[in-house]
Symmetry: C2
Subunit: 97 residues, 2 copies
């Protein structure tokens, strides 16, 4: 009846992060922060969780002299995102008579 919802994706901020990365494939931390409106602390925690799950990878480089954290969605992350959307549909009576 109802498909289980991946708890890693069923979170407003993590879903927003993944949504950005599904479109753009990669993004810098401050950009994600701006687009989601999240605090840096919260974003840092949620990025870590997505990375720990292998849904994104985090690359720390420099942009000139400043640190620059880039987040990139993985194949696993893309699959999980799509599966989450499919699961969601079981709750939204899409195409029910």
């Amino acid at each position: 009846m109802f498909q289980p919802l991946d708890p890693l994706l069923h979170s407003e901020l993590r879903l927003a992060i993944m949504s950005l990365l599904i479109s753009d494939l990669e993004a810098e931390f401050p950009y994600i922060k701006e687009q989601t409106g999240a605090t840096a602390g919260n974003l840092s925690v949620q990025v870590d969780k997505l990375a720990a799950a292998g849904y994104i990878e985090v690359v720390k480089t420099f942009k000139g002299k400043r640190p620059c954290t880039i987040c990139r969605i993985t194949a696993k992350g893309q699959q999980a995102f799509e599966a989450y959307i499919e699961a969601l549909k079981s709750y939204l009576q899409i195409g029910k008579p």
Copy 2:
């Protein structure tokens, strides 16, 4: 960019409850329990929260000699459910180029 998600509906079990009631308008507690696979305790708590928000109303009657708890979605609940779906779409890049 991302629309906020009503925290009352952004919960797997409460969303399932609302999904059932959107289709059927009303349902008995044990039926919801069966369809969602929830434990009675969890269901009782989440039904209370939805009722406290005015998204559903709970009527306690009897069916023969046994108690019978009926949950019914309200107009407010229907509106909230639809608004939630609209908000969700901002995360799912539906119809993005």
